[in-house]
């Protein structure tokens, strides 16, 4: 029987420092055992438990897209024991990943729709996965207009710079990158995500919004979308809670009867409106 | 047991015993190397959980040393610490920790000779106690063939 607690062993292939405060690093993992990559078949929006032997596990959204073969990417913020330990690990070190866990963004059901993708800070990870997947030539024709709004406090805290700069040059995605306050030599937008959203978000007809960001951003962006006429069914969010098992068993990540790990982390606003705000 | 070399965790006040250890070294005073020193700003900083952590992880002895009463860099840190020491000493002894495993001393930064003597005394007594087998966390049984 497949043991869902047992991580797939992986080797750290590459570590990239993402932000100027060095608190975010992107880890590129390669599976040690042939065949594990197929078993780890995932879709954008899912997460995995990163397992450091002897230290513990942390649930992290998958930043790579299933269209990128041969590796998986995770961007990890230095917060607790495991993530701090990971920040001191080197390329070549062995650890584990367990998953994929949770449900992906419902991209299959969103076919034919316009998408507005709103990200704040380092919560952009699974949305990077989503956009990479959407821009794949075999997937792109299935969707309408794609708008990407991405904000961070300062330019140095924006992740995946090369990628969004490349997306910006394309004509099949509208990219709006913003920072909180004006700084010299900044050629993109200045202002908070809700304000930018208000200005650039497409009309709600046949459009769905995917949002991932800090609670304060979500708190102020959600009314902007609702005012613009977005239905709660079409506002799709990804939640976070403290997790351990990732399998809907250990009991701590529940929001009402739903486990963020097993039944989420992706919920529509319509679903969340019927649930306690315990996240 | 004669070749038993104990592991001793030492908590030294930065302003006195730590300096005494330095001076002993500079003065080429010979003392046993069984200590892993943790430098504290003052013995008043010593939380009882530090002692427990040391023993739990298998230390054979713990040695705590600070400034003589009245000489505290922070005026009263070691007076407060002294009361805590009385409690820790009494409680751990009552629970069955050999008092020779938990030692306290006052050594000023000038007392390199006292440091040397005390270091020898601590090691000698911990050696006499033998390895710490009862007041520590047991080694994990991994249950793996590779390290059976």
């Amino acid at each position: 029987m497949n043991n869902p607690y047992l991580p797939y062993p992986v080797r750290i292939a590459e570590i990239r420092v993402e932000t100027e405060d060095k608190n975010l690093r992107t880890f590129k993992f390669e599976f040690l055992n042939p065949g594990d990559e197929e078993k780890f078949a995932y879709l954008p929006g899912q997460f995995a438990e990163l397992s450091v032997p002897g230290q513990g596990e942390i649930p992290i959204g998958i930043a790579s897209s299933p269209t990128e073969k041969g590796f998986v990417l995770f961007t990890v913020n230095r917060v607790g024991q495991v993530s701090s330990y990971m920040h001191n690990m080197k390329a070549g070190d062995i650890m584990g990943i367990r998953g994929p866990l949770g449900h992906p963004y419902p991209l299959e059901g969103l076919k034919g729709k316009n998408l507005v993708i709103i990200a704040g800070g380092f919560a952009v990870t699974t949305l990077r996965s989503t956009i990479t997947w959407l821009l794949e030539p075999s997937n792109r024709p299935n969707y309408g207009q794609i708008t990407f709004i991405y904000g961070a406090r300062t330019p140095g805290l924006l992740l995946y710079k090369e990628e969004w700069m490349a997306w910006e040059k394309r004509d099949d995605i509208n990219v709006y990158v913003t920072i909180d306050r004006e700084v010299p030599n900044w050629n993109y937008r200045v202002g908070f995500v809700p304000a930018v959203t208000k200005e650039v978000c497409p009309p709600p007809e046949n459009t769905a919004a995917l949002i991932c960001g800090p609670p304060i951003m979500i708190k102020f962006t959600q009314p902007v979308l609702e005012d613009a006429g977005y239905k709660p069914d079409n506002i799709i969010m990804s939640l976070e809670n403290r997790m351990k098992c990732g399998l809907g068993i250990c009991g701590r990540c529940n929001v009402g009867p739903e486990y963020v790990c097993k039944d989420g982390p992706v919920f529509t606003l319509a679903q969340l409106n019927r649930l306690p705000k315990e996240y | 047991m004669s070749d038993f070399e104990p592991k001793i965790v030492a908590f030294f006040c930065n302003w006195c015993t730590y300096g005494a250890a330095d001076l002993a070294g500079v003065s080429r005073l010979d003392y046993p190397p069984n200590f892993r020193v943790v430098r504290l700003p003052c013995t008043g900083r010593l939380n009882p959980k530090f002692i427990m952590e040391a023993f739990k992880r298998g230390a054979d002895g713990v040695w705590i040393s600070g400034c003589h009463p009245g000489d505290c860099h922070y005026i009263a840190g070691n007076y407060h610490a002294r009361r805590k020491f009385v409690l820790m000493h009494q409680l751990l002894e009552s629970i069955g920790v050999d008092p020779n495993r938990l030692r306290f001393s006052w050594i000023s930064s000038a007392e390199a000779n006292k440091f040397q003597a005390m270091a020898r005394d601590v090691v000698e007594h911990v050696k006499a106690c033998g390895p710490n087998t009862t007041f520590r966390k047991e080694d994990l049984k991994l249950g793996l063939a590779e390290v059976a």
Binding site: Y5, I249 | L144
Partner: protein, 347 residues
Amino acid sequence: MPEYLVKESGLKEFFQSLANGRHLLTPQGTGDKCKLEEAGPDKVNLDYSNTHMSPKSAFFPQSENLMAFHNKSDKPNPFVYQDLGDKAQPTVIFGIRPCDARGLSISNRVFQNDRFTDPYWKGKYEQTIKIGLACASPSPQCFCAAMGGSPYGELGLDVLAFKVEGGLGLKPVTAQGEELIKQTNAAQEDLAQEIKKQEAKAIEAQGVGTDLKPIDDKDLMELFQDPHWTATAENCLNCGVCTFFCPTCHCFDIQDEQSEQGGIRMRNWDTCMSWLFTVHGTGHNPRPSKTERVRQRFMHKLKYIPLKQDGIRGCTGCGRCVVMCPVNIDIREVALKMCQPPAQSQA
């Protein structure tokens, strides 16, 4: 399936034959010392109200090693976690009260949920034959009937045993249970009417309590937002006793520990009463005070689990939390508050 009877004189032989190469756990000791333990078949206590702790630890130990790794670079697979297995062994447990058996079946649907199967639980659950002992005489804290169970309930059991004049009646519930009974000295005997009679009497003695249907009917958010929770939680100490003793509490923490040669990953019982249970890495806590945590526990038992498990309540009425709670928070009183319209529940 037909019922069976073991005469009082044959009880020792019966327990011996139950073991038959398997581990046999039976109720041992009296009062709050009563435990399900492996011991001689002649010391089985059949007059206990219930075991001190629920039988969940036989399937879900308080601390269980899941996997291990070693750090020897010259050996195969360094730093790779390897499964330590479920350590399940063929076992018979005699003397699980019907409330606790019901609890096991509820936990079983969590450990083997719609998406994942917990192999450590599954192995032990499937290798254990569960023989219940019906409760002819309820204790003051008993309320299984009010929660939809019965002192003679069969859910989660392979065999239901019940005391009869001069011996022990046995009612097989599953084929596995019947198979086991056939290997013992129990003889077929028609006791169907006897069980019905005893069950009716036992339920009457317990008193059915108030109908808790209003909780099922009320909307989740209405129950959640009800103002009574502050008062309900006010005397809670936020210890974890209720959760540790509860037959359906299944929450755990996963922890890694290291040694010189490697390390293990283990799981330990955890409790939703703890601040640490839900606190985020950022310091934000979705359930920051005891009010939210107490609400979580009762909502989980009485609303969330029924929503997820076809209406079956997550409390089985064993009453352990009622007795063990240092401040006697009684889930029956809480359930009544949840039943009331908001205006009255504040009083």
